[in-house]
């Protein structure tokens, strides 16, 4: 087949477009100059500044906690929702249910944030709960949209795998619950891991929803970054971005390598 030049060139340009800004961000995080874009020598001083900023560190710790809790709640809810959608062919309200599960995926953040805030305020005045807003309300909000992402990931894994394994276990007398824990869970485990990680990163990344539902004294990391960045470039944000990008790249690289190693085995089986 004749190969055109058009597609490879556009693809190469596309990839450089995706990566050039990130690479320049990383390079300038090691820049000594305060003017982020004028190179004046290698320095780690912005990293030092970052780690001695109590506001930044406090916000980072809060965000990590929120992300871990939200991802875990979303993991349970999303997995249950995925099981229901893949395994229960027909039930009353299925369309509504699948709509409710997938709509948060694309719902604009400002709507999600505003609607949850208004709910919390209304609930507080009617039920007296939740009292004020802060970490709890952010966790609830994040769990809700992360559930949708976990559900999508687990759903695709569940609909891929061979059901005869589950049927065999049931024929041998295992209860549905036992079958789930002994057969289904180990098979969908990789999807659960990536679902949790996806939820974790999305929660860590969210600015808009958290801004709506957070209260005084509970500023998450993106909220602190946004207020800094809004005023102009700040080199310590470059340093922070470099650390985050480093961790993420390492994670994605490891995941890809593990996946590639496992692939030949699973395709032979």
């Amino acid at each position: 087949m004749r190969r055109g030049w058009f597609i490879p060139i556009v693809a190469a340009l596309g990839f450089s477009f995706l990566y050039a800004p990130i690479i320049s961000l990383v390079v300038f995080s090691f820049n000594e100059n305060r003017l982020v874009t004028v190179w004046s020598g290698f320095s780690l001083k912005w990293y030092g500044e970052l780690f001695s900023d109590p506001q930044m560190l406090g916000a980072a710790w809060l965000s990590l906690q929120i992300a871990a809790i939200s991802a875990s709640i979303a993991l349970v809810l999303g997995t249950l929702a995925a099981i229901a959608l893949v395994r229960f062919r027909r039930f009353r309200g299925r369309t509504l249910f699948s709509g409710m599960v997938s709509a948060p995926l694309v719902m604009p953040d400002v709507i999600t944030g505003l609607s949850l805030l208004l709910l919390f305020v209304a609930m507080e005045s009617v039920l007296g709960w939740p009292q004020g807003r802060g970490m709890l309300t952010i966790v609830i909000a994040h769990s809700t949209f992360c559930t949708a992402y976990v559900c999508v990931v687990v759903q695709s894994r569940l609909s891929d795998f061979d059901r005869s394994l589950e049927e065999a276990a049931m024929d041998l007398g295992a209860s549905p619950l036992r079958t789930f824990f002994d057969i289904t869970l180990p098979i969908i485990a990789p999807a659960l891991v990536s679902g949790w990680l996806l939820g974790f990163t999305l929660s860590l990344d969210d600015l808009v929803i958290a801004s709506f539902v957070s209260g005084p004294g509970s500023s998450t990391l993106p909220m602190v970054i946004f207020s800094k960045v809004r005023l102009g470039v700040s080199p310590d944000v470059n340093a922070l971005a470099t650390i985050i990008i480093g961790i993420v790249s390492l994670g994605v690289l490891t995941a890809t390598i593990i996946q590639l190693r496992n692939r030949p085995r699973s395709s032979r089986a």
Binding site: Y19, I111, S115, D205, I225, I245
Partner: protein
């Protein structure tokens, strides 16, 4: 109690606690299915569906000083319950030029960015689907990587790239080209949306294109069709679900985008998400913000349904 045990009769099966529990539930008419569904259904009803209803309710109230800062819809006056609905917020949305302009400019910006993203994303997805396996995984990883990196930080990376003394202008300066004003323009907003949402376009397109049967393309070429014709008559129609899914994944969140217009756009870049934000945080007019949210929801509801249909088409294949 008889001790003689007849070996031919199996001993009674001891019920495990779970089975006892299961039977008790079954007697009450509760099945395992209901238990699986209960938690996600309740959670999503309370924290997804009800909030949207609350937004609609509050959009019919008016701003008030106090806590909460909106008028009550239901009030009891002399023993009778009164329902007070205000349409003023919606009337304002249709008559105030600011809102109308923001509404149309959001749609325009989202539409143009989606088309640009499609034009860049399609060849990329096509290339990834056609390269040898070994390369494919690396390229896929390169697409997924930004997806996992912070959205906010990627938008921030663009500001360093496009600002007056940024990387692009320094590069152009090497050739003696005067610096371009890119930041705080609509152009920067387009770049921002395309840049951050490109992976959302590529991934569904790739999933779709990788399943394309190569023999169809060969058959078409054998029958004398030129590559462009083969593309237009075979590849393009078959990849339509991927195009729809990818485009909706870009268009819907772009409509309500707040971070990109406020970091990259100028003061004249009107977008409905930004208007909602200002209405809420700056003017603290919650009912007005709620009405803006409902209006935004009306725009995205059809794309959301299109997306769902496209996704079902991809899943069922």
């Amino acid at each position: 109690m008889t001790t003689a045990h007849d070996p031919t009769i199996p001993p009674p099966r001891r019920l495990k606690p779970w089975n006892v529990f299961e039977r008790r539930l079954a007697r009450m008419g509760i099945t395992g299915r209901m238990l699986v569904l209960a938690a996600p259904v309740l959670w999503l009803l309370v924290f997804f569906l009800v909030p949207l209803a609350v937004v609609f309710g509050i959009s019919l109230a008016t701003k008030q000083f106090g806590r909460p800062p909106y008028s009550a819809l239901l009030s009891t006056e002399e023993g009778t319950v009164q329902l007070t609905l205000h349409l003023s917020n919606y009337i304002r949305l249709f008559t105030d030029n600011l809102y109308v302009a923001a509404y149309f400019s959001s749609i325009r910006i989202a539409l143009i960015s989606t088309i640009i993203t499609l034009l860049i994303g399609y060849p990329m997805a096509y290339a990834i689907a056609r390269v040898p396996d070994r390369w494919r995984n690396i390229l896929l990883m390169l697409v997924i990587l930004p997806f996992w990196t912070s959205f906010l930080l990627r938008v921030y990376a663009l500001t360093g790239f496009m600002r007056g003394n940024g990387v692009i202008n320094q590069f152009l300066g090497l050739f003696g080209i005067p610096p371009l004003v890119m930041m705080q323009t609509d152009f920067a907003v387009y770049v921002g949306i395309v840049y951050t949402y490109l992976p959302f376009m590529i991934l569904p397109l790739y999933t779709n294109l990788v399943k394309l049967d190569g023999s169809l393309l060969e058959a078409s070429a054998d029958l004398g069709a030129r590559p462009l014709r083969t593309f237009l008559t075979i590849t393009l129609p078959l990849s339509l679900p991927g195009i729809v899914a990818g485009s909706m994944l870009v268009f819907i969140p772009a409509i309500g985008e707040f971070v990109i217009p406020s970091l990259l756009g100028g003061p004249e870049t009107l977008m409905i998400g930004r208007v909602l934000w200002d209405e809420f945080f700056t003017s603290t007019n919650w009912p007005r913000a709620a009405a803006v949210a409902i209006a935004m929801l009306v725009v995205v509801v059809v794309p959301i349904m299109l997306l769902q249909r496209a996704q079902n088409a991809v899943v069922e294949k």
